[in-house]
Symmetry: C3
Subunit: 150 residues, 3 copies
Amino acid sequence: MEKMAPILSIENELFRIYIFYACVLALKVLIMSPLTAMHRFKNKAFANPEDVVTLKVKPKIHEDVERVRRAHLNDLENIVMFFVASFGYILTNPSVGFATMLFRIFTASRIIHTLVYAVYVIPQPARALACATGYAVTVYMAIQAILHFI
Amino acid sequence: MEKMAPILSIENELFRIYIFYACVLALKVLIMSPLTAMHRFKNKAFANPEDVVTLKVKPKIHEDVERVRRAHLNDLENIVMFFVASFGYILTNPSVGFATMLFRIFTASRIIHTLVYAVYVIPQPARALACATGYAVTVYMAIQAILHFI
Amino acid sequence: MEKMAPILSIENELFRIYIFYACVLALKVLIMSPLTAMHRFKNKAFANPEDVVTLKVKPKIHEDVERVRRAHLNDLENIVMFFVASFGYILTNPSVGFATMLFRIFTASRIIHTLVYAVYVIPQPARALACATGYAVTVYMAIQAILHFI
């Protein structure tokens, strides 16, 4: 098997799918930076004195900025672990269809998480459910990889 | 060498060991989320207004929550860099035994770090030593990889 | 092509270059920890009660510490996404020269970002330009990988 089609190769369909979703998720995380900047400018809420010299205001904290920053940090906590857990998971030789479904569920859950947390706030448990869904996928994949390579 | 057994292949023992420890560490980081949630519920200390609607309290900061969050962020700062540094390190073709020992020391140091920081607080220098041990391993591996691929 | 020289192999020049810059960047991020510690000791500004037992002061926040911590978090937000986006990008079989140039621009932009943010503060738009340059490189690489593997 391994000799016919190495797993970590662009000849392997699942590896290509993994790279696609990993880069979509990386781009999603990167979008949080201009989103934070937008709220900083809108509310004149900057963190550093050198950022507000021309605005003639003091550095300050604004809840809209902090909300986007919390969403951003939550991304780092969850999406970065997904990168690793799913990398380990594709090495366990799972079915392409099932693994792709997991990648899609995770990606969708994180996009929904951002939308309901940092774009248009929707009452709980919207955010909790989005977060828990992606979390369950990541934990499942990490455990599968651990059991496979123990 | 490379033609006989590609390094980034599940046929390579060290790569399998790397994946195992990387996924154990990813799982360790993921556990910080429910640990944070537990302290949030216990102390009714949530960050967002929509989280406390039914509790009829205001968002607030609690030191027990902040402590777990600091431990979580410290994980991101250190464990994510380990993922990269150790990935580079296994490509330098180190001895399997020595590399495995480094992975074990790092993993143990990070688990101890979490225990003494966020589960049962033990006086310093317990946490500083745990953090420094894992840090030294990561810096060593990153430098080895840099020197090898310069 | 793929059969002649697998992309994810130390026989592939661009992969070796990728590993080199990834580990340089990991080391750069790691340096933020002793930089933070230095400012904590200098200003006796620690986050935890157990850290200040012998100093006989209370945990406190100091702006110099917070500045380094913001730079550190900004690294995580940007450099970790670079790790993933550039990994995807090298799998699109780009020219070695152009990809190497992108890696160098990103690495330089992040080192400059740290210097003007957390070592010697220079008026804006120094930091904004450094951040935007690295950001543009990462977004470009992520989009190239997404378009290639869609």
